[in-house]
Symmetry: C2
DNA sequence: TTGTACGCGTTATCAT
DNA sequence: ATGATAACGCGTACAA
């Protein structure tokens, strides 16, 4: 039997309400009684029953976390665990807990969200943006990580992916590349469409023709059609000398594919990619990659959430987390041509 | 204002307890009233307040999840997210939720566990084994993933890592290798000491001398001393022709390192490793690697937990999850020597 | 078959 | 400064 406030009251010879006040440092209580009660509480290893507390206060120290619909696979990517770490770090500091949206098979983010809110356990929600991010009105504060499709008045933290895509492309342009391929585009993922936009903009500003057939969608590694598609692209005379890749894993796959064609990185093809993963770092050659700082994304999101939960005063409604470029060996200058 | 059973009671013209019973399919209630109440409940979008429910029932539909002390970094490894997926899958199916032990900086698993239990939110605990796994008696059922140091009467699910280490080594032996290196050993991680034990056993059975200096500890990639150590090992005349690596990332690093020495995989050195990660699959050459099925580990653990929570009857106290070997191109036959 | 009354542990309001 | 009382939403003996 866990000790309750009543047990302490009995032990201290006071009423339960006095104990409650003492534990909450209510000023309207004598100093000696307070310390006495606190001592007893410690002795009896008292911990307030959060359920009871929540029942009356109508709030909990729990924040729900919703992963994209395909959480099953998305968790596999290093990005999400890193976000989770960030979230957990500040949650822990501020004595909050995180309740995961448990997804069986094909639950949408929408369903998961409902489940979580309906459970009544959470007093806030952090959702990792996906194509189907629910912006239906829920009864608790929501912070979304990643730019929501409808960037209306909701709170969110995000990376400026347009700028990132622009920067990546410009980085290549600065090094003499003119024929630049984009791989990993997936219109379902906003991050990739944003980056593509930046890519196009950079090309435009440099007066380079944008080739629609040089935007290779999604994971080509899985299906062979894309692989053939890539083969054709790199067999052509005017093959790309550089690639902007949406993810390190993709880049590694590409590098492997290129080597089967007798092309090597970076001497024949430069690659700049995203997410700065371990595998990219360990890969030979080391991948030049953008660190979009998922950890910090998590930290910012949880901070925003908790601040919001605390004083209800509206701080910033959106936070932009900066990215950084980790330069390694997968990009080199292009001397082969100048147009 | 959320709807409560009182609201429904008023609406249906019955008492709250009748509503409660109807919703719980209590047999002692007329059929027509039951369906009527259920209809109203649905109409009013009623969801029972879990806090109140938990308060009276003294249990919750929440299972706490504890990651190793260094959760911050451990989450980065694909193994843990995969476990989480497995856990989440069955939790979701059975309408349970998962509460994460939020670790700021250097909280031990012990602390995290206490925090979680003290919170009063969880009615069960699943801990991912680490060196400092707490087997202190907590007030809720515990299932640990990975063999606990003191494999006493507690419930756990695990991979037979001794067998896995043995199998890996035998696989190499079968292909003519006699000089086999082991890298990634870390006595803090039970999995690696188990696998090492299997490695030694396989060597012993084949009458091959076990060389203590051929057990390279931990991540050599981080510190240069190990790198030098490896350099010495592979510069020697009797250099290893094969390696058992504790992790794909490690293997990839090793492959890169070897190539700087003019050695290539698998023609000069074969590598068999663990965890069957994406990076290993995309790497060139593809890594032959053991899939220890972290997902299933999670599934089994949560199933065990929930069954235990349900009927209190004691099913199996330990579950072994089989592993499988994914054969790719990083291992080849050794013809260079025969002793 | 259904209603009444009470308790789960805590906090807030109103007395004292 | 402290105690008594009610209430949060729900479940369940007990009574009817």
């Amino acid at each position: 039997m866990k000790t309750t406030i009543k047990d302490i009251a009995r032990e201290a010879g006071v009423s339960p309400s006095t104990v409650s006040r003492a534990l909450h440092n209510n000023p309207r209580i004598s100093e000696d009684v307070r310390i006495k009660i606190k001592r007893i509480a410690k002795e009896m290893d008292f911990h307030p029953n959060q359920m009871a507390r929540s029942l009356v206060s109508r709030t909990s120290r729990i924040v729900g976390i919703v992963f994209p619909g395909n959480a099953e696979q998305s968790l596999g990517h290093p990005f999400y665990p890193a976000v989770l770490q960030g979230l957990g770090h500040v949650a822990g500091e501020r004595k909050y807990h995180m309740l995961l949206a448990t997804g069986s098979d094909a639950v949408t983010a929408e369903e998961a969200t409902s489940k979580l809110v309906e459970s009544g356990y959470v007093s806030g929600l952090i959702v990792l943006a996906a194509e189907d991010s629910p912006e239906e009105d829920v009864s608790v504060p929501v912070v979304v990580i990643g730019r929501p499709p409808n960037a209306k008045e909701c709170y969110y933290v995000d990376t400026d992916n347009i700028k990132a895509g622009y920067t990546a492309t410009q980085y290549l342009l600065d090094r003499g590349h003119r024929r630049i391929l984009l791989i990993g585009y997936d219109k379902q993922y906003i991050v990739t469409v944003d980056r593509r936009r930046g890519y196009e903009r950079a090309l435009l500003e440099s007066g380079i023709e944008f080739r629609r057939d040089w935007v290779v969608p999604s994971q080509f590694i899985q299906n062979n059609t894309d692989s053939d598609l890539l083969g054709a692209i790199f067999k052509a005379d005017d093959r790309p000398t550089a690639v902007v890749s949406m993810d390190d894993a993709l880049s590694i796959g590409l590098a492997g594919f290129l080597s089967t064609m007798g092309l090597s990185v970076p001497s024949d093809v430069s690659i700049i990619s995203f997410n700065n993963t371990e595998s990219g770092r360990y890969h030979t050659p080391g991948l030049t990659s953008f660190d979009v700082d998922p950890y910090r994304l998590g930290v910012s999101a949880m901070t925003l959430m908790l601040d919001r939960l605390k004083d209800k005063i509206d701080g910033p409604t959106a936070i932009e987390v900066p990215f950084s470029l980790i330069e390694r060996e997968s990009v080199t200058y292009n001397h082969s041509l100048d147009s």
